[in-house]
């Protein structure tokens, strides 16, 4: 389905509406090439403007980008609409030495963690936010107010490790006889990513689970600064290697947008092939995790075989099992032979009947279905309020997918089926994973059968200064890479909004009032990556 996209469409009157509502306080300008409304906004109009956009104009919060200029802080709130509405960017400024801005999270709840992160890493204060401090940087490792993302942060200065506060004790939320906190992590149970979960429990029943994340904080946004685009590409690829291709694609698209480079048709088509191969492989892995969490060993083994089949297929097609070293700004590093792509599509197609068999057998294994049904439920309203993305959102009835909402790299001309479920529980998430995996194999085959000829890389181009947003629907959901390249050709600011970061924010919704043994299942059904969220 191809919609005719006329200029601005659904947000056509946005400039006039802003002028009328906030005269002199909001200045609107439309950039047609990027289909983006830029709203320069005074701080006193920020909260109203942001919540009006989300509530009345139906756009979704994508992320907050903080930039430090010598004399001021520039805060960029990014929103995405549908295919016919494009993007909205609110720009608010805070003159130094002031560092306080109004908090929008009470009205735009999806911005909650973005504000907490900016407070922790930049030392900005969001007035009215109920819960600031100790977030990305743990208070037992980093001194308060260290502000690692600030320009004046000097890592060479040795800072004493904070002394533990002897009076510290967990906040007691549940007042009940025998209630206690059960910490799970950061090292726990077999082969798992590092994260800590504080389970507030009265024994068998868990009242709430609070994830404490960022054990894997590698400071990717910080170490990307003043590196070359080629170097940052490696970081983008390795921020979450199980979705390496989607992330490197989003990053490359940002750089391509800055330089105004047209990617050749064959490269665009091959990028879809590889992105769908990655989604298929990721979803099979996620299904394997869910089977394993319910201790269904044969099913987990079957899924594990399919995952390894797809890893080997990726390895023989591209040289790397996790699709490293393929995306570059301007296209792909090298062409893939027609026969190899077709063989890969056949290999991926062969996985589909096996997946169907697995789904059917799981569907009639009552001991399995019982453990997923009604577990970790998220309502549609909650999913919308938290701005959840990816399979998690779609299982709660939020049919949100950047391949359709803001198509890129040739998805414009594809008819992507976005499966959705209404139940919002663990079983719904599993069904979405199965349906999406099958759809990925279908797109892959369709693309592989009709690859355009031609080069796979645009002619060499100079790195231009400027800023742009790149995005992609990664296997776990929407990924946004906002890049500014300075006059010296080096990356000046790299903002990385990952689907895991977005969805971890909503994890606590699913982890309320459950039996202790359901915890691994809830966790697995979310399919989140700590590395991707921590960055």
């Amino acid at each position: 389905m191809v919609c005719a996209v006329s200029e601005q469409d659904g947000l056509r009157d946005l400039g006039a509406a802003c002028r009328e509502r906030w005269p002199q306080r909001v200045h609107a300008a439309y950039e047609a090439a990027r289909r983006t409304w830029r709203l320069e906004c005074r701080a006193d109009a920020l909260v109203d403007l942001a919540s009006w956009l989300v509530a009345e104009r139906g756009v979704s919060f994508a992320g907050l980008v903080v930039e430090e200029a010598p004399a001021e802080w520039v805060l960029r709130y990014l929103f995405y609409g549908d295919r016919d509405t494009g993007w909205v960017e609110i720009v608010a400024r805070c003159r130094k030495p002031a560092r306080a801005m109004p908090s929008i999270s009470a009205r735009v709840h999806a911005a909650d963690w973005h504000e907490r992160e900016a407070e922790d890493l930049f030392g900005l204060v969001f007035e009215g936010h109920p819960r600031l401090g100790d977030f990305v940087l743990h208070n037992d490792v980093w001194p308060e107010d260290v502000g690692v993302m600030r320009a004046d942060y000097d890592p060479a200065v040795r800072r004493p490790r904070p002394e533990p506060d002897p009076a510290w004790q967990p906040v007691r939320l549940v007042e009940a006889p025998g209630a206690f906190w059960m910490p799970v992590g950061p090292i726990y149970s077999g082969v798992t990513e590092s994260a800590l979960f504080l389970l507030e429990t009265v024994g068998e029943d868990v009242i709430r689970a609070f994830p404490r994340l960022f054990y894997k904080y590698r400071g990717i946004e910080k170490i990307a600064e003043r590196r070359s685009v080629d170097q940052v590409l490696l970081l983008a690829e390795r921020c979450a290697a199980t979705s390496a291709f989607a992330h490197s694609l989003a990053f490359c698209q940002a750089v391509e947008a800055i330089a105004g480079v047209e990617v050749p048709a064959r490269a665009r088509a091959l990028r879809i092939v590889l992105a769908e191969l990655e989604r298929l492989r990721h979803h099979v892995g996620a299904i394997e995790e869910i089977c394993e969490s319910t201790a269904l060993a044969v099913a987990a083994s079957q899924a594990s075989i399919l995952e390894e089949d797809l890893l080997r297929l990726s390895g023989s097609l591209t040289g790397h099992r996790y699709l490293f070293g393929l995306n570059v700004p301007g296209g792909l590093t090298h062409d893939l032979a027609q026969g190899a792509v077709r063989a890969a599509a056949d290999g991926a197609a062969a996985v589909v009947p096996a997946l169907r068999r697995l789904r059917e057998m799981l569907g009639v294994s009552s001991s399995f279905v019982d453990r997923l049904e009604g577990i970790g439920t998220i309502s549609r309203a909650d999913a919308l309020a938290h701005g959840l993305v990816g399979p998690v959102a779609r299982a709660s009835g939020v049919r949100r997918d950047l391949r359709v909402a803001q198509p890129y790299s040739g998805y414009e001309s594809l008819d992507v089926l976005v499966p959705a479920e209404e139940d919002g529980d663990g079983y719904a998430r599993l069904r979405v994973l199965f349906a999406e995996a099958e759809e990925s194999a279908r797109i892959l085959a369709q693309q592989a059968a009709a690859l355009p000829a031609g080069p796979v890389r645009a002619p060499a181009f100079p790195v231009a200064a400027g800023a742009a947003l790149g995005w992609a629907e990664a296997p776990r959901g929407a990924a946004f890479h906002w890049v500014r390249i300075g006059a010296d050709g080096l990356v000046a600011r790299y903002r990385l909004v990952t689907p895991s970061f977005t969805n971890w924010h909503g994890f606590h919704l699913a982890a309320e009032n459950f039996a202790f043994q359901d915890f691994p299942i809830i966790l697995a059904s979310f399919g989140l990556s700590a590395g991707e969220g921590d960055r």
Binding site: H138, V148, Y215, I223, R238, L296, Q302, I305
Partner: protein
Amino acid sequence: MRGWVPAGLRTGVRTTRYPDAEETAPGVSPGLPRGGRAADGAGGALADRCPTGAIVTEDHGIAVDYRRCVHCFRCARGVPAPPDWQPGYEWAASVRGDAAQPLGPAFARSLRILVVDAGDCGACLREVKQLSGPYYNMHRLGFFVTPTPRSADILVVVGPVTAHMRSPLVQAYEAMPAPKRVVAVGACALSGGVFGPSFASAGGVAGVIPVDVMVPGNPPPPLAILHGLLVVTGRRPSAALRSPAAAPPPAPRAEGAP
């Protein structure tokens, strides 16, 4: 539930024959560049393209430091004279020399492994996980994952050791009973990889706890990690972490290149 057992049996045996025989299936390893002679200037050009400093010029050729290689393929693609590519997977190297003897015969058939994620990107962990799957099935070799350091003999560490994971890693290591061995898995755990030493990470495990065996790769394929476990128990010979310019190239073990 009845269907699962026949379904499992129908699948047949998929397990690799390694270490009894070589694994030759395509796509099991990304391979590594090999050091060797290079035409005048070509070696320098390759070294310049290497983003992590894994390739250095030496004796009219190039040498490759496998602790740093991150499989970016920038030396292999789009250059006139790419280095030789070794397609194998037996990359693990013992790094403590005589200081650490292999674990004794008492461990030969039952070895417990604690896996600690010290900040990996997810790939190394996924490959470690494959070892428990049907294709690699490390249980047949006597390796089992344990969730607790108290019963662990081997500590497998992935990731560059972030500031937040330093203390949990040290505590886990100290909680393990002796004798114990540490296997660092992946370029990040060996050298920091693309994350390097930075304000937020230590740039490798060796600066935090003593490491016995290093497994190069970004991520190392499951067979390389399996080789690491076999090296730490003295059941396979160690490989070298550095491929010098002047060494005679070992016989190729499998066909294929990237």
